[in-house]
Every structure is written in structure tokens, then in C-alpha cells.
Symmetry: D2
Subunit: 119 residues, 4 copies
């Protein structure tokens, strides 16, 4: 299975964006993993005081900010994968195959107990 | 700009995967944001004791685990976006436009100082 | 206001523990901050699929694991503070003073709206 | 081993602070774990583009901000422990005993390999 074309296209464009700014020096995999985790934390902070119900129906302004965090995470994820030579599409396909084997629908259906072990 | 087709395809497949297991009840945006941030933390832990140089050249076993974490993050990111009605491709395009305006190449080139403010 | 005596005592003991293992080389503030954030993610993952109600009343085994994560976070927090020369007790006192000024009880009482801005 | 007295004192004061603002409703263990992880991410972001060497010697302004994040983490950690009935001092003592057994000094000295497994 080939890499998702849009990911490849973005990675190529972002490589140019970074090179033009001479930012490669900051983009070690270690630093990119930190930046990605940091953005994950920022995304999460938008939800931390909401009830589960409120989190389904965000105010427009919050949704705009959340969409920006989602974009930041996608950008860092694609950049880290690019630096490490990991192809995201094929990695997702492999992981979904593992998930299907590990969690057969008929066995885990609706079970929070099983779900708790789903990492 | 339309959503990346592979993201849409994955979201549709994953919706079925989740429905077959009756896991929708766990997939509030709040919980998905937590799961995403948690996977970001797991990814980062692979890098925490490495030097910047070591992080560029991971042992094969570590790289396999890191690729799985990257897949997990992509899976949760696409699922959260799906639940919120956010389109990832267009959100990335909008964010890159903002980044280009905020960080003109000629002004920020190679500057850690400016880069520090790049969030 | 002086540092909390138990923090100082722990920091001193842990300095010996680390020196005996020649682990100082791994304990840059950057790496310790990553380790701390990683432990925060691990702690959080115990709660991610629980309802708010379930999170109040953890099964005994989960509580034991959560207590270990709390200890890990306290250990890294004290170690990072030690490396940076930050005194935790006085820093908490200063932050609580700021919080009291920023969130006067009569103005913010029970308000999720205000609370959302509480970072 | 008893709880650290300063932690107990802080927890008691903070219980009053929270009650005066009617914020208990937001302070489920689930939400507190999210807030703690979020603060861990914010702390880490101060370090993400720094070299290991730069992280040892922070500019004064950054150090002030980092000290505030350390305080925030300590505040949420103590509050979460209080809600769960976990005593931090004894939990740290138990964890250090486990660490001493798991990582005998003579066996792991200076070994990044062993250290990598130190979680």
C-alpha cells in the first residue's frame, strides 16, 4: 500500500517551507516529537473542563481554535514521519489490521472492560 | 480545497469498525482528545533519553514502535476531526497560509529567537 | 517563605540515587521536562475512557497504578526544580497569590465560563 | 511514613479556595488528570527548541514562566491526590524503594541501555 498522496505532497511543500527559513536545525525527531506532544496537550486543554456532552457541541470560536490545533498536530505528525522515513498511510493500514485481530467485534462489543485495555 | 480523500476513506472505514464494536459511547470528543494527547506522550517517551543525534537514527525495533505510535495518533486525529466535523486537509492549508504570513522567510531565517515564538 | 523541607530532603536523597547510577548525563532540564510530561500522559490514560463518575471511584488495582504515576510525577517535578534552582513551595505560594487576585471568589463563583479561562 | 505536612497544609487551603469559588464541580479526577497533563505539556513546550545545553541555563524570563508551570503542576498533583485519597509522600517513598530494587547501582551504572527501560 502506497503512502497517502496528500501527505506526500504536504511533506514536500513543508520541506521547502522549513528550508527557506533554515529551521531544519530545530527539527530533530526528538524536538518534533516534543512539539507534537505539546500540541496534543494544547488540543486537550480546550476540553478539560467540559462535560462529555458539551464536548460534542463546541461553541464556534472554540471549534475554530480546535481546528487549528488539529492542523498543527497533522503538520508535526507528517514532518516527524518524513524525518524518520515512516509512511503514515501504510502504518495506519498495518495498525488497523492489528486492531482487527486484537479486538474481534463479537468478543469486545460494547465492553468498557475490554475497551480499557485498548491502547 | 476539499478534504484529503484518504482521510475521508479512513474515517468511513473506522466509523464501521467502531460501530461494530459499539465503541461510539466511549468516543466523545473529550475522550478522543485525551486519547490523542496520551498517544502523543507515548510517542515522545521513545525519545526522552536520546541525544538529538541518536533521535535521527533509531534502532529498528524502536522505529517499528514509533511507527505504530504515529499510526495511533493519525487514527485518533482523523476520528476526532470526524466527530467534530473538521476537515483536516483544508485546516492544514489554512494553517500553512497563516504560518507563511506570520513567518516571512527573509525575516525569520535561522533565528532560534523567532523560532521560539513559533507556536 | 522557605522550600518545603520534605522536598529538599527528597531532592538531596535523589541526587545521591542518580549519582550512584551515573544518570546525571540523562537529566538535562529538557529531558526531565519530557519525562515529566510523559508521566502526565500515562497518568491521564488511566482516566480516558472513564465517565466523570467512574473516575471518582477507581478500582483498587487502578488506584495503585495511579498512585505510582503520581509518585513518578512528584519525583520528576522535584528533580527538575532542583536542576533549575526553582523552589517548589515558594513557587506554589506565589502562584496561589496570583490565582487569588485573578479569580476573586465573588466574581467567578460557579462559573464555567470564567473557569474555562483559568489556566 | 506520614504524608508530607506541607502537602497536607496546601491541600487543606486549596480545598477552601475551590469551595469558595464553587469549582468542585469541575474537579473530577478525570478533569484534574487532564489539567495536570496539559500543564506538563505547557512546561515541556518551553524546552522543545532548546539544545540540551541551553536547557540548563534558561533566560530569566523563561525561568520565571517555567517556575509558574512547576507550581501549576504541583497544585494539580496535590489536588488530584487529595481527591483520590492518595498520600504523595508515602507514594514517593514506596516508588523509590521499587526503583532501588529494580535498578541496583552496580548493575545499571551509566548505562543508557538500562536507562531507556527506566519508566
Amino acid at each position: 500500500m502506497p503512502e497517502w498522496p496528500e501527505i506526500k505532497k504536504f511533506q514536500s511543500e513543508f520541506r521547502t517551507f522549513v528550508a527557506e527559513r533554515e529551521w531544519d536545525q530545530f527539527h530533530t525527531p526528538k524536538n518534533l516529537a516534543m512539539a507534537l506532544a505539546g500540541e496534543g496537550g494544547e488540543l486537550m486543554e480546550h476540553f478539560q473542563w467540559l462535560t462529555p456532552e458539551q464536548s460534542v457541541d463546541l461553541p464556534g470560536e472554540t471549534l475554530t481554535e480546535v481546528a487549528q490545533e488539529i492542523a498543527d498536530i497533522q503538520i508535526y505528525l507528517a514532518t516527524l514521519a518524513d524525518r524518520l522515513g515512516v509512511e503514515i498511510g501504510p502504518a495506519v493500514a498495518r495498525k488497523m489490521k492489528l486492531n482487527a485481530e486484537k479486538y474481534p467485534a463479537e468478543r469486545v462489543r460494547g465492553s468498557a472492560r475490554k475497551y480499557t485495555d485498548y491502547e
